[in-house]
């Protein structure tokens, strides 16, 4: 590992008891944070101290700590997933911060992602968008054709894969001034639009998923591209363009 050292930091952390209460930023000084620690390990350290002092630890979502489950979701110094590009909060390391630095830690802010407690938000709206069409209607019976009976052009297969790597974290929404979920919806729509398996239901899928996103209170897309910049998986804006084409074609033919 690279040379590690310890730093002292000041944290301003959003504390909110529950969905109903009003929250506020609280300040904590934290000493001896190893620069090899991840951001969440730093919060573990803070929580350990809070517990030992008889205070209530900070609540935040996390699970895999490998940048793949999409649970972690912190707004750090005004950026979703903090400084650096293409990293999730759990992959952010303390070597990205300076000794003596003050770090602001807040939850995602969006009407469709209400705060549950402290830094944890409710992102079930994302699930409901997927219920509206994020699947291919094929039975899981196993009576399908041989997998290689359907060759798929590598270029499309690769693009579909790239779109499918979205982890559903919601950073795109948090980054957007309209709190639009376009990048997230487009990633799923694109994955299927690029694959032959997705064609049959393509029209309904895009119409229903977009409709559900609006119903959940996500805003419109005004093409600023902030989402792409903050997306930890590098989901490309091209997907939004593809979704718009699909949407237009579907609306005209319905």
């Amino acid at each position: 590992m690279s040379a590690s050292n310890n730093i002292n930091i000041t944290l301003k952390v959003w504390r909110q008891k529950n969905a109903q209460s009003k929250g506020q930023l609280e300040s904590y000084d934290l000493k001896n944070v190893s620069t090899d620690s991840s951001f969440l390990e730093m919060l573990d350290q803070l929580n350990e101290e809070l517990i030992n002092e008889g205070k209530s630890p900070v609540t935040f979502d996390h699970d895999c700590r490998e940048g793949i489950c999409g649970a972690c979701s912190l707004y750090i110094n005004g950026r979703p997933h903090g400084p650096g590009n293409r990293v999730t909060t759990c992959q952010l390391h303390m070597r990205s911060f300076k000794d003596g630095e003050t770090i602001y830690v807040e939850p995602w802010r969006a009407a469709a992602f209400p705060v549950i407690k402290d830094l944890m938000t409710d992102r079930s709206s994302f699930d409901r968008i997927q219920h509206a069409g994020g699947y291919v209607s094929v039975n899981t019976s196993g009576n399908t054709q041989d997998a290689n009976a359907l060759p798929i052009e590598k270029e499309n297969a690769d693009k579909a894969f790239d779109a499918a790597t979205c982890i559903g974290c919601g950073a795109c929404v948090a980054a957007c001034k309209n709190a639009s979920a376009s990048l997230f919806v487009a990633a799923k729509v694109s994955q299927y639009a690029l694959l032959p398996q997705g064609q049959v239901e393509a029209k309904d899928r895009v119409l229903n998923m977009v409709k559900q996103a609006q119903k959940e209170g996500f805003g419109p897309c005004s093409n600023t591209g902030a989402c792409e910049v903050e997306c930890p998986k590098g989901i490309s804006l091209e997907n939004i363009a593809r979704m718009n084409r699909e949407y237009l074609a579907a609306s005209l033919s319905k």
Binding site: S34, R65, H93, G142, Q145, A147, A164
Partner: protein, 668 residues
Amino acid sequence: MSLDSKIPEGPLKDKWTNHKNNIRLVNPANKRNIDIIVVGTGLAGGSAAATLAELGYNVKAFCYQDSPRRAHSIAAQGGINAAKNYQGDGDSTYRLFYDTIKGGDYRSREANVYRLAEVSANIIDQCVAQGVPFARDYGGLLDNRSFGGVLVSRTFYAKGQTGQQLLLGAYSAMNRQIAKGKIQMYNRHEMLDVVLVDGKARGIIARNLVTGEIERHSAHAVVLGSGGYGNVFFLSTNAMGSNVTASWKAHKKGAYFANPCYTQIHPTCIPVHGTQQSKLTLMSESLRNDGRIWVPKKLEDAQAVREGKLKPVDIKEEDRDYYLERRYPSFGNLVPRDVASRAAKERCDAGFGVVNNDTKEGVFLDFSSAILRYGKEEANVKGIENPSDEKIKELGKKVIENKYGNLFEMYQQITDENPYETPMKIYPAVHYTMGGIWVDYNLMTTVPGLYATGECNFSDHGANRLGASALMQGLADGYFVLPYTIGDYLADDIRTGPIPTDSKEFEEAENKVTDELNKLINNNGSKSVDYFHKKLGLIMWNKVGMARNEKGLKEAIQEIAELREEFYKDVRVPGELNELNQELEKAGRVADFLELGELFARDALEREESCGGHFREEFQTEEGEALRKDDSYTYVAAWEYTGKPSEAVLHKEDLKFENVELKTRSYK
């Protein structure tokens, strides 16, 4: 109770087909009157929930995350096996079966493993139909790679994100059923007990993790797909929330726990950085297709590397010890995981470790040869004449990036070192648990109506799991096995009607759960939950880890019991029961780990042989290889709970090998 594995009669290759033809079915109209609870939405639980709902049952699915899509299966990297023989390299159902039995060191059931191999090909068809974007070659056909312990290429993959893509496939199948109202999804819910009525599993007690409310849920059968228990070691590659609670509560209600000591220590993980470490990160086994593992030949070089005075790239070829290639020429870097892990430990114990941390543990995983090899190939393909070394490297790096890009990125994020330029440093870490709840051929536990699927059962991997076979097993259980076998049991329930939740059984179970949680909350101790979890992890790693011996195991049993006592005296759980309380969630899980750990050590003590991931120092060959004792230990150890984990009662299920001959595994 005697253990009946319910293995069907007949020749190995006909067992599953015959069984399916003979078991009872529930007609579609009656399925509508039957409720099934599925705990877990990983590959096993997610695929089971979707398929059961599709068949017509009413499914209630539970997970502790905020969405089924975040189950730990999402993190699987390297791939999924299937006996498709697309590469025409001689693969077959039999070969996959044989490799799995051998890889598991002859400690798994022939019939189960054969069935797994048999349905494996179907999994790929199914996933492709769902739109899972597997890697493809230029002809548009599916691509394969190799994993450890086998000599064919049968692993399907989606870069280093195979688990993610497969789970999103299962999640999409669930979404379709959620939209239809056939699955009721309970996110952020943790199951804290199974409820038995008249000896049958009829429901669960769950805590709503947002409100803190304790809830009763009933069903005609309960299916667990709650994952593995590697986190008993505190540090592992599992997700932070992965736990044994669902399995352990089932165990306490009568489900036997099988082979708890069979744990897989994965050879290629990023070494520990320091005391704040919260989890370990796997570098997929697929990297061993192209990476070569080595340590310096000279002790002084190893020391100089640790001190930062010598760069690995400056160590000459002849001064490097590619110890896997040296010891196992025929499998080389692709030996099974248990073998690779022990070999790394052996080198580090001898002082050749290259990482500068407390334990000096770490070896190199080097891609420089592969970069050159691929670079030359690419130059040929592209018709570049006399390419410069620079050009070759550049082309080679591109190929490596295409195959493993996200893993290399992840490595660099964590270590701040560029693996394209300098070898990765890796060390073994706890990764997977082959042991788990005992199930029969139908995946039913010893509690009627309670089933276990995926990593939480013990079924298919014996004493060591081959890479890319967990995903295969999870999906096989959930898509193709359980949905059939459960019908046989539920055929008796078509007239039962809804199971009421106001019975005394539900009330008692709920009260017990509430009492236990209140006890933790009101304990007013002085130490955090993590303090105990870390301590438990250290005992496990040092005494019940990669190498075990009688003395250490006895000490571990004692120390864990003492730690558990201290936990109940001195743990501090802040907050309330009736609110979102992550410390309380952790406390409950660690309480169960503290019991499991003891049984785990007891099982390891009882098994006086070395097999697969279970290595007893007393039982090894002169060359340091695992020494099995087939005469005495060719059985599954199934433990019955009686009150104290160390006093559990052992039941033996003898393993009969009728189709393969027991041999000493050799990868030389």
